[in-house]
């Protein structure tokens, strides 16, 4: 099969910080160096782009020496953490900006969807915006006319087509915008997380359309997303970016595993407490909840694997000396059904006054994938101190490196079952 895209040693440098008079003198210095045929003095200090550590120079390589090829008709998923260079790569591919070094060769027309509804004008009607947006995305007026009914049909906003789009609900706006983009006639389609919008029904429709584009029509699709589920559904192959370099290129399943494993780097996630409900307490002022953190989660988030324990670190401020402190939690479903409850009964803590303590809770669970919420409480002996509901959200993912998720059935918890004929 022939190649649709060939990326050769692409790098992209960005300048950090503010532009001010300081930049002008640096610009002049740089211009002078280039005019004498010398190397750009501010590009030499290259280093890998790690978001969290402070670099030495204020030039950062958002992408470094990326090379890969994409075959015609292939759907490729591009994944990576925030700041790995996914969007930069898409920007280069869609010619919004140029690479610092290297080159990209393309066969066929490229349509890029870095955002839906680019160039929509609020005062124009839906009809006028379809033509305007289509033209911005590179369609000829004739093509749009030919597909106009299809676009309107797909968007489902027929009734409002002659109303200015500023009167649309945000959902309708997005629907119309995606509908135009979905009907582009290009050999290569570049999509950046646009599916994060619209309701669940429409998202499914979009995914379906994208699948149709890549599998049915044989067009090349490059798809960037954080949603592992949709990426693995849509793409057969993938690229994993890490700190601006290409970490892994291969089958999508392997890439997802690699990505999820890279999230397990032993660090802890600090969780912002949600505005939880405080309940009346008899003994307030003994122990106060400060914050909590998750360990063992995916990429420092509140997402946990279905087959790995949940670890929660809870930090308290002890105001008065406590002898028999009981800490308890409840995990409940998003709909409010309590799934399980536990406390340290039989292993009560005692703390001195005016100290800060961290209690670690390791929870072996068998929750199905989905959204859960956490309640926390504290007691001294048999007396309640406080009970806070909905302190944090927990998400259980069904994607786990190397292991097949056991169930797609309904319910709240997973179970092991053995089957024999009696």
């Amino acid at each position: 099969m022939s190649k649709a895209i060939k990326v050769e040693n692409i790098s992209k440098a960005y300048q950090l910080g503010q532009f001010s008079t300081g930049t002008l003198s640096r610009d002049l210095e740089r211009w002078w160096a280039l005019a004498r045929g010398k190397e750009d003095p501010y590009l030499k200090l290259g280093e890998t782009n790690v978001r969290s550590t402070k670099g030495v120079s204020n030039v950062v390589w958002s992408l470094r020496d990326i090379s890969f090829e994409v075959e015609e008709g292939m759907a490729i998923g591009i994944i990576g953490k925030n700041g790995a260079g996914k969007s930069t790569l898409l920007k280069l591919l869609s010619q919004v900006t140029t690479p610092t070094t290297g080159q990209i060769k393309v066969r066929g027309r490229i349509a890029s969807l870095l955002e839906v509804g680019t160039g929509f004008h609020p005062d124009l009607t839906g009809r006028e915006n379809i033509f305007l947006n289509g033209a911005i995305l590179g369609m000829r007026t004739k093509e749009i006319q030919k597909k106009f009914d299809e676009i309107v049909d797909f968007s489902g906003v027929e009734r409002y087509i002659d109303t200015p789009v500023k009167r649309y609900s945000s959902g309708m706006y997005v629907r119309l915008a995606f509908a135009v983009a979905a009907h582009l006639e290009s050999e290569i389609l570049i999509v950046d997380e646009v599916l994060a919008v619209g309701d669940a029904d429409f998202q499914r429709k979009c995914l379906g359309k994208m699948g149709e584009v890549s599998k049915g029509e044989g067009r090349t699709v490059l798809f960037v997303s954080h949603n592992m589920e949709s990426v693995s559904k849509l793409c057969s192959e993938g690229i994993l970016l890490e700190n601006g370099t290409l970490k892994y290129r291969g089958a999508m399943g392997d890439i997802v595993n690699e990505y999820l494993l890279s999230g397990l780097d032993g660090k802890e996630a600090i969780v912002n407490l949600m505005p939880y409900n405080r309940t009346a307490s008899y003994n307030a002022g003994t122990v106060e909840l400060i914050d909590l953190a998750f360990e063992n989660s995916v990429e420092l988030s509140n997402v946990f694997y279905w087959n790995k324990p949940i670890e929660i670190l809870v930090r308290f401020k002890v105001l008065k000396k406590v002898e028999k402190l009981l800490v308890g939690f409840t995990v409940a479903t998003a709909t409010g059904v309590n799934v399980f409850t536990a406390n340290n009964s039989g292993n009560e803590f005692s703390f001195e006054a005016q100290t800060e303590v961290v209690v670690r809770i390791n929870i072996e669970h068998n929750l199905r994938h989905g959204l859960y919420t956490l309640h926390l409480g504290a007691m001294e002996g048999s007396q309640d101190i406080w009970w806070h509901t909905d302190v944090a959200n927990i998400e259980i993912t069904n994607l786990t490196p190397g292991i097949v998720y056991p169930s797609n059935n309904s319910g709240v918890v997973l179970c092991d079952s053995t089957w024999t004929i009696n």
């Binding site: 022939s2 190649k3 060939k6 960005y14 300048q15 532009f19 930049t23 002008l24 610009d27 920007k91 280069l92 591919l93 869609s94 010619q95 919004v96 900006t97 140029t98 690479p99 610092t100 070094t101 290297g102 080159q103 990209i104 060769k105 393309v106 066969r107 066929g108 027309r109 490229i110 890029s112 870095l114 955002e115 680019t118 160039g119 004008h121 005062d123 124009l124 006028e128 033509f131 305007l132 033209a135 911005i136 995305l137 590179g138 369609m139 000829r140 007026t141 200015p164």
Partner: protein, 283 residues
Amino acid sequence: MKETEENWDLVIRPTSGLLDLKLKQVWKYRDLLWMFVKRDFISFYKQTILGPVWFFIQPLFTMGVYMFVFGSLAGISTDELPQPLFYLAGITAWTYFSECLTKTSRVFIDNVHIFGKVYFPRIVMPLSIIISSLIKLSVQLSLLLVMMAYYFIQGANFSPSIYILLFPILLFLMASLALGLGMIVSSLTTKYRDLVFLITFGVQLLMYSTTVVYPLSSLYGVYRLAILANPMTTIIEGVRLGFLGQGSFTWLGFLYTCGITALILFIGTLVFNKVEKNFVDTV
């Protein structure tokens, strides 16, 4: 399959030719150009009661103010032409130039949300500005013609001359000059915003160094040369000579204006091409 270098449709490189205007690509995107023009026109009068009438109100009021301030109070000569016609001819031409210039000079800053998300030849945007301003100009020109007809019936002392045939060329010069200057300013403002402040009152000052509110014939010596150094002066005088039969137009001045315009357009294209590729990173 053996691959050769030639069978790629597109090669994205760090740099490409500076003077390459990508006219072939612009031609491919001609529908987009037309869409932008249409958008500008429609969005101009959406949700207004008077609609396109606003195209007339602005020059008429400006004309009235000039007649009062420069004509009556200051008593500046109008080349023996009826005051309204003298001012209106100048205002119509100048408005076209200043609108093209100010809008083109903001093209990168105003459209970064589009430019940052999708590729099309960037030059389409300034071109659409030039064309949609042209529509406005033709509407305002009809106002001038109506006024001319009125004064002709009244028996006023003026008559269009053969130089009116020069008008399309003068128009082209104005558009090129505004485009060139606008592209230079817009390219410089992507990184440093200082020029944004300059352009708003700069255009205003530039008008007074052009013969919009006074005729060139009222100036002598050094002042005359200084005002003639402004390439817009010859254009305005040429427009007046064409439509009203009065104006200090010389072919030497015309050649000078052509030369300056070509130079500015050349520099503008150069910097615009240089900046358009990466301005998204710095704007």
